[in-house]
């Protein structure tokens, strides 16, 4: 029996589900090794007893809360994919704004039709076996996880910061150009794709460690004259830092 895999979306851009379809070169092999059920982007049939459920998106509405609980019941293993599912992601920018204000700003009188709650990672509501952070998730990491699970192996995220991968790429460090990059405090695994393409790391994979954040608060203030508040504002972009108040 091929393991059954499903992909769901909560509040998200569905970019992470789409990233799976962007594994064009491996997709047929994956389809050969697993049975994909209830993949909303790809099919009509639905099913229940699922071996691995991948979920993209944050929990940000009462419906999301119900859905994630239901998914948990149907899935033997649940994998949060992408910054939204792992940290709240870009959706959590609203957590730092006044609720009445953001709702009426966007929906005006219609706001009552759009119940919302603080955007939160799915781990705030249900137990999660694995997390694949990133905005979007790193599809190579997805592939590695699928292979590990199929071959019955443990799998873990790297524990280092983006600078490691940036150095392996042979990039010129952006600090040499006066750009404050979040690489030193951000969890590796993306292959340092942003610095490699000339842009600063925006911290989409979350914090590498609390110690790194401590170091940042000293370094950026003392060596680069940047207030801690600005660093935190940057780290909020993808929900990597949410005043530690979540879940």
């Amino acid at each position: 029996m091929k393991p059954k895999i499903a992909v769901f979306s909560l509040t998200s851009c569905e970019g992470c589900s789409l990233a799976i379809l962007e594994l064009e070169n491996q997709l047929l092999d994956i389809l050969g090794a697993v049975e994909i059920v209830n993949f909303r982007e790809a099919m009509t049939e639905r099913d229940c007893d699922i071996d691995i459920g991948f979920v993209d998106g944050a929990v940000s509405t009462p419906t999301d809360v119900e859905e994630i609980k239901e998914m948990r019941e149907h899935c033997k293993a649940l994998v949060a994919i992408g910054a939204c599912a792992c940290q709240g992601g870009i959706n959590s920018l609203k957590n730092h704004q006044n609720e009445d204000d953001y709702r009426s700003y966007v929906y005006g009188d219609g706001a009552k039709h759009f119940p919302t709650i603080k955007a939160q990672p799915i781990s705030a509501f249900v137990e999660v076996e694995y997390e694949l952070p990133g905005c979007p998730m790193v599809k190579e990491e997805f592939l590695a996880l699928v292979k590990a699970v199929l071959s019955g192996q443990q799998w873990a995220l790297p524990q280092t910061s983006v600078c490691v991968e940036c150095k392996k790429q042979g990039n010129l460090c952006l600090y040499e150009k006066g750009i404050i990059c979040l690489g030193p405090v951000t969890l590796a695994g993306c292959g340092a794709i942003c610095p490699t393409f000339g842009s600063k790391c925006e911290g989409c994979r979350g914090l590498a460690s609390d110690e790194a954040l401590q170091a940042a608060s000293i370094n950026l203030r003392e060596q680069y004259d940047i207030p801690l508040e600005n660093i935190l504002a940057d780290l909020r972009f993808y929900g990597a830092y949410q005043e530690k108040s979540l879940p």
Binding site: S151, G152, Q153, Q154
Partner: protein
């Protein structure tokens, strides 16, 4: 055009490629530990020294260092005792007899048995430390007449967690070894001694500081207390052996993970003299 004179260059081989070995026998020792008996695919004896280790490979999973727990005096096969703690060891536990795994080694420096000949030997093993110790124990028992008195102290956390229970029974019966075992937390069925391993020193006769070589293998926390016991019996630091554990990726002194100060545990060790370790500030911290 060759610019670096090196005789190795013409060998199309790699020190990182393991050789196949077959699992002859597999036995569960406890919930966490599995005992393996292996033979190299080409049938050749492994030729280890007691205290040496091998890199065990599962292709597609990874590699990890594991001490040999059998003696070269029993060359038909070699044995490993593996605790399930992570990626590789977990997959190793799922194998069955007849399966093939990869082996590199024997690696590192084991015990200097020549130096031990003619001496009284005291081995103190805690927990999984009994595994590497067992290669030396077997060696001593097989070459018994070449050694003086032989004391063996073994401490485990609970009776269930004691390893090599068959051996424990045999050692207890064996007049060739003065064997004592204890557990930290006895259960109702346990008839033996309880308490930490240092309490077993009470059972020992007077040691001769100049004629005794001591071997300590166990978790870092045990190490400190045992070393004090031994030193207090005026056994010199150069007569105490111990074995270190570190993360190892290559096992051949390159990858840097096992480096303690200026030494590589995988090469200069894992067996060291206490006198040597004392100078290595991070060795047992």
């Amino acid at each position: 055009m060759t610019t670096l004179e090196n005789p190795q260059l013409n060998q199309p081989s790699s020190i990182y490629v393991p050789e196949p070995a077959e699992i002859i026998k597999m036995a569960k020792l406890t919930e966490m530990e599995m005992h393996y008996e292996l033979r190299l695919a080409d049938g050749r004896p492994l030729g280890q020294d007691p205290g040496q280790f091998v890199q065990v490979s599962l292709l597609g999973v990874g590699e990890c260092p594991i001490s040999l727990c059998s003696s070269p005096t029993r060359p038909e096969t070699f044995e490993l005792c593996i605790r399930r703690v992570g990626k590789v060891t977990e997959c190793l536990h799922r194998l069955s007899e007849g399966d093939t795994i990869g082996i590199r080694g024997p690696l590192g420096h084991g015990f200097d048995v020549n130096e031990m000949h003619g001496k009284d030997i005291l081995i103190v093993a805690g927990g999984l430390g009994i595994a590497p110790a067992r290669s030396l124990i077997q060696y001593i028992l097989d070459e018994r007449e070449r050694f003086g008195r032989f004391f063996l102290l073994y401490g485990g956390r609970t009776p269930q967690e004691l390893l090599f229970k068959d051996d424990v029974v045999r050692w207890r019966e064996n007049p060739d070894v003065d064997f004592h075992v204890t557990v930290d937390q006895p259960d109702s069925g346990w008839r033996g001694k309880s308490g930490v391993v240092t309490t077993l020193f009470r059972e020992l006769p007077k040691l001769d500081p100049n004629e005794t070589l001591a071997v300590i293998i166990g978790p870092p926390i045990m190490f400190k207390f045992v070393v004090l016991e031994i030193l207090s019996r005026r056994i010199p630091q150069t007569s105490i052996y111990c074995s270190l554990e570190r993360q190892m990726k290559c096992g051949v002194g390159k990858c840097g993970h096992c480096q303690v100060n200026n030494i590589y545990v995988c090469q200069e060790g894992p067996v060291f003299k206490y006198a040597q370790l004392k100078a290595l500030r991070e060795s047992v911290e």
